[in-house]
């Protein structure tokens, strides 16, 4: 009796599972269809208006085809690309990818060769470092989508009270940061002249780059760590000086949310992408508007609040070693490429043509992003934020275009290294160790 009952139950459950498996098989067809092409955009940087433009333009040019834009989170982008790009049915037809992730996928053969398209897309006007990050053996697989660079935000009132002027050279910047830290005009506990947390290598490498140093150099076929070069060492020395005398930021923090201490009156300067302006919220300006309040009065109060914040806050590109030239800062941004598995290569190339059209590039610039084609960067506008961003970006530099650079970032070698620098480690020794790790990782 028992046996009959239980085995019947078991058989029924197997049946259930099989039935479930079977009914799922149906949606294969729609994924591989060629009537639809899919664009993966990373993060929320591309405004809705631009997405609408792409869809409308593409669909107008391609009768019967549709463009679907799917936004992917930055944090999950790499695992998704690792899987989806190798699947014929699931691969998107055009993808945006972070500029430091680009070499890894390019070398792996994930993208189609678009060398023949480069001239049409902008040729030599395309941001150089980004093209380099998408190039293997002279063939181009990925081109720049947009770039953004960091600029320095500062409190005008604190500068004034401490008697500090906006610096015009990198050396002056260091002096100003130290002077602010010592003056501590607001009397805040734990005050920083310049907010520079221990693991913030994104900002820290500006000193390295500006002194002519680099993170890694190509030596024949191999990449070797270059932190120990005299130029790099000079820059690192300046960074260590800043860590010691110009900042009270924790050593166990990174570049995330630097406006928090700034808003709390605990830092006179911080360096961040220019969109950080929308996160500045000084207590003396805050009007306590209820976020739910959509009345006109509330909107007016919010506008007043933003104006007040921007009046008290200044921005300048980090100055370089000689007056009048900006420092070489780290370039953020992304590339765009056509996955090799995509079955819609021609349509995908058409989409790239639309993205690199004058209209679209101008729209990118108007929205505060440095467009992949630098010819259209003028459309950024002439307010202080746009100007600071532009000045910083034109000289900005990427991480080395080594195949395995993403592994260096995954191993967080630079975070650890800058933390050691911040802790006052012997520079030569710490650099030699980090160089070894970089060389081994890139090998």
């Amino acid at each position: 009796m028992t046996r009959v009952r239980t085995s019947g139950l078991a058989a029924a459950s197997v049946g259930l599972l099989l039935a479930l498996t079977a009914c799922g098989g149906g949606n294969e067809a729609e994924a591989g269809g060629s009537e639809e092409i899919r664009l993966w955009l990373a993060g929320s940087d591309t405004p809705q208006e631009l997405r609408d433009y792409l869809v409308e333009t593409f669909e107008a040019e391609h009768e019967g085809m549709s463009l679907v834009i799917e936004e992917q989170d930055w944090s999950g982008l790499v695992p998704r690309l690792q899987t989806a790009l190798s699947s014929e049915s699931q691969t998107p037809d055009v993808v945006e990818i972070g500029n430091t992730q680009s070499p890894t996928f390019t070398h792996a053969g994930a993208f189609s060769d678009i060398s023949d398209l480069v001239d049409e897309l902008g040729g030599d006007d395309l941001l150089e470092g980004f093209v380099e990050a998408g190039t293997v053996d002279g063939d181009v697989y990925a081109v720049p989508y947009y770039s953004g660079a960091r600029a320095v935000f500062y409190r005008k009132d604190l500068f004034q009270q401490a008697g500090v002027e906006v610096p015009t050279t990198l050396a002056e910047f260091g002096d100003a940061a130290v002077a602010l830290q010592q003056a501590n005009p607001g009397g805040a506990a734990n005050f920083s002249g310049f907010w520079l947390p221990g693991q913030d290598w994104y900002n820290g490498i500006a000193w390295l780059y500006s002194n002519g140093g680099s993170l890694a150099e190509q030596d024949g076929d191999a990449w070797v760590g270059a932190l120990s070069s005299p130029e790099s060492q000079e820059g690192l020395q300046q960074v260590q000086e800043l860590f010691a005398n110009a900042t009270s930021a924790p050593r166990d923090a990174d570049s995330a949310e630097p406006w928090v201490p700034f808003n709390n009156g605990e830092a006179a300067m911080f360096s961040a992408p220019t969109w950080a302006r929308w996160s500045i919220d000084l207590p003396e300006c805050n009007q306590g508007v209820d976020p739910d309040d959509e009345s006109e009065a509330a909107q007016a109060a919010l506008a007043e609040q933003q104006a007040c914040n921007e009046e008290r806050t200044g921005i300048f590109p980090l100055p370089g070693p000689t007056a009048g030239e900006p420092a070489t800062v780290f370039a953020g941004g992304s590339n765009i490429a056509i996955p090799a598995m995509s079955g819609n290569q021609e349509a995908a190339r058409d989409l790239l043509r639309i993205i690199f059209s004058e209209e679209y590039q101008t729209m990118l610039a108007e929205n505060g992003l440095i467009p992949g084609n630098s010819e259209y960067a003028d459309a950024l506008g002439d307010d202080v934020y746009a100007q600071a961003a532009l000045a910083a970006a034109l000289d900005a530099q990427l991480t080395p275009p080594a195949e395995k650079w993403a592994d260096v970032e995954a191993a967080r070698i630079l975070e650890d290294f800058f933390q050691e620098v911040a802790s006052g480690a012997d520079l030569a020794e710490a650099s030699a160790r980090a160089d070894q790790l970089i060389t081994d990782t890139l090998a």
């Binding site: 028992t2 046996r3 085995s7 790009l85 190798s86 734990n190 924790p250 923090a253 191993a411 967080r412």
Partner: protein
């Protein structure tokens, strides 16, 4: 429907308590002696049919990927191979590369230590709270259950962000509590995660906080299975609460305890999320890697990660072989 009649039922020996009954089949073990003729094919197939539904998804959804991971560990297989470059067989090279690196041995040592400390703490706290749960009224019990469940059931993304905030150097509540109400002003800007030792302390707090609810719920469920009559009989025999727990309840829930302890060891050895998030909060990465995060840092070299996973399997096996043998012995 008449209620099950059990008036004649459980007359269990009050003392000495025995270990939880190894399952005794009403039929004497069949496979040891020739199966009786009249057992039909169907009845012999019974257990296999019962197993089948569990076996199929595991074999397909887990077994195949695991075997593939194992095979890959003898190849050179990275991102490029996924896009069509042929995978090269490299024999044991991935294994020798890993095992000849003193750093890897350091990671293994730290992981084993971290795992044992955390598993022991989790079990101790978990059992204590589970026992506590059996001794309190309904209101207190549900409060405790809901509290634990919240800790267990809230998305890790949120709880880890909160823990990060709590231990933040600049704005952390922990530093604030130590400095303001408790007067330890030196702790106002204390960096909790910059030294490996205090990093692991923080990690232990978080891991134990996240793991205890599971232990409590499971052990509590096990304790509920202990028949009331045994407890009463023991009480009549003069056993006090501690003795009843030590000699009656705990031995009776031993199968459950063993399983839970074993799982804690397995899970704590490969702890990943908590360590990963804390590292990203600003800890020195290389000095704080445990096996889980170390494998992840190798993730683009699938073959290397696969080799490390196999090595971990061996370590886990060594750590738990004592339990496993005991458990299998009881299975006879």
């Amino acid at each position: 429907m008449s209620a099950p009649r059990t008036s004649s039922a459980p007359v269990l020996p009050p003392a000495p308590p025995r270990a939880a009954a190894p399952p005794v089949h009403p039929d004497p073990p069949g496979e040891r002696r020739p199966a009786p003729r009249r057992r039909s094919l169907r009845s012999r197939l019974g257990p296999y049919l019962l197993l089948l539904p569990a076996l199929v998804p595991v074999a397909v959804g887990l077994g195949y990927p695991l075997v593939r991971q194992f095979v890959l560990s003898f190849q050179e297989y990275g991102l490029a191979q996924q896009f069509g470059r042929p995978a090269e067989w490299v024999g044991l090279r991935n294994y020798t590369t890993l095992l000849s690196d003193p750093y890897v041995w350091g990671v293994i040592g730290r992981s084993v230590l971290f795992c044992l400390v955390n598993a022991a703490l989790t079990m101790a706290v978990g059992i204590a709270v589970a026992v506590l749960m059996t001794r309190v009224g309904r209101g207190a019990r549900i409060t405790l259950q809901v509290g634990l469940l919240l800790a267990w059931g809230t998305p890790v993304l949120a709880t880890m962000t909160v823990w990060q905030w709590l231990f933040d150097s600049q704005y952390g509540v922990v530093n604030w509590l130590l400095a303001e109400p408790l007067g330890l002003t030196g702790m106002r800007q204390h960096s909790w995660i910059i030294e490996p030792a205090s990093f692991y302390l923080v990690a232990t707090v978080i891991v134990v906080w996240m793991s205890v609810p599971f232990v409590v719920f499971t052990v509590y469920a096990g304790l509920l299975q202990v028949p009331e009559e045994c407890m009463e009989a023991a009480q009549l025999d003069g056993a006090n609460a501690w003795q009843r727990l030590r000699h009656l309840s705990l031995p009776m829930v031993k199968p459950v305890l063993l399983v839970v302890a074993l799982l804690q060891v397995i899970w704590d050895l490969r702890v990943f999320t908590q360590i990963y998030v804390l590292q990203r909060a600003g800890a020195p990465t290389r000095e704080t890697h445990l096996l889980g995060t170390y494998i992840y840092s190798l993730a683009k070299e699938f073959s290397m990660a696969g080799a490390m996973a196999t090595i971990m399997l061996v370590i886990t096996f060594v750590l738990t072989v004592f339990y496993i043998r005991r458990m299998l012995k009881e299975e006879v």
